[in-house]
Amino acid sequence: MTEVPISWFLTLSAVLFVLGVAGFVFRRSVITVFMSIELMLNAVNLSFVTFSYQLKQVNGHLFAFFVMVVAAAEAAVGLAIILTVFKNRETLNIDDVDSMKN
């Protein structure tokens, strides 16, 4: 067998996405939570490119490209927010940033 079934790519994408969700839910460091979001975006990109292969169209690549651009913008703004939070509260633990709780 020299050809890879397309379902393997989609399963890999699902595995990476679930690991991203697990990191997002379980981790307490705000930077690691942010990295888990990037992991989920990467998993979705793999799905887009795989479907693009299956349908023999270039549109999926364009969507992956736009996801990358939005991820870059999101990383810039998100890390700036992390910097501001750290400057005001001296912590990176998401459990300690709870001023809207009460």
Binding site: T2, E3, V4, P5, I6, S7, W8, F9, L10, T11, L12, A14, V15, L16, V18, L19, G20, G23, F26, R28, S29, I31, T32, M35, S36, E38, L39, N42, N45, L46, V49, S52, Y53, Q54, K56, Q57, V58, N59, H61, L62, A64, F65, M68, V69, A71, A72, A73, E74, A75, A76, V77, L79, A80, I81, I82, L83, T84, F86, L92, N93
Partner: protein, 166 residues
């Protein structure tokens, strides 16, 4: 050959992704995430997405992860503090995760029969030429909107991160 390539880099991606989640130090997570992105770039090449593979390496593994490592260094982020979890979560968390993944894999396998398969060179329209042609004709409006989005992100990041000048 394609199967070996896929299995190798899929394994690297999954191991690195698990490492992202279980490592307690942010730098270890960031380096593992670079591993995930690099192996995904190889898989994109296997799928014929040349431009996306290059953009993955340059934008994700290059620019975004450097930004992450830079912020981790700047904030001197240390090891995450351990917290107690409930016994049910400790015992059932990992098996339930594996069960969910098994279910997803089963349904994906059912939905996509073996006849649809990937071989290297099966799709050759992922070159920068094709991407550029689609980007500047069909997707011109989203492309322009993206440029505005990036401008807003730059200005927003500067406004958020600068020192208050009272």
């Amino acid at each position: 050959m394609d199967v070996i390539l896929f299995l190798t880099f899929a394994l690297i991606a999954v191991v690195c992704a698990i490492n992202v989640v279980v490592q307690t130090h942010p730098i270890s997570s960031a380096i593992s995430l670079v591993g995930v992105m690099g192996s995904l770039a190889v898989l994109y090449l296997l799928l014929g997405a040349e431009f996306i593979a290059a953009a993955q390496v340059i934008v994700y593994a290059g620019a975004i992860m450097v930004l992450f490592v830079f912020v981790i260094m700047l904030l001197n982020a240390g090891t995450e503090s351990k917290r107690g979890r409930s016994l049910v979560a400790q015992l059932l968390g990992a098996p339930l995760l594996v069960a969910l993944l098994g279910l997803v894999a089963y349904f994906v396998e059912r939905l996509y029969p073996r006849s649809v398969s990937v071989h290297f060179g099966g799709f050759t329209h992922g070159t920068p030429l094709d991407i550029g042609r689609a980007l500047f004709t069909t997707y011109l409006l989203p492309f322009e909107a993206t440029s505005v989005l990036i401008l807003i992100a730059i200005v927003g990041a500067i406004v958020l991160a600068r020192k208050e000048m009272d």
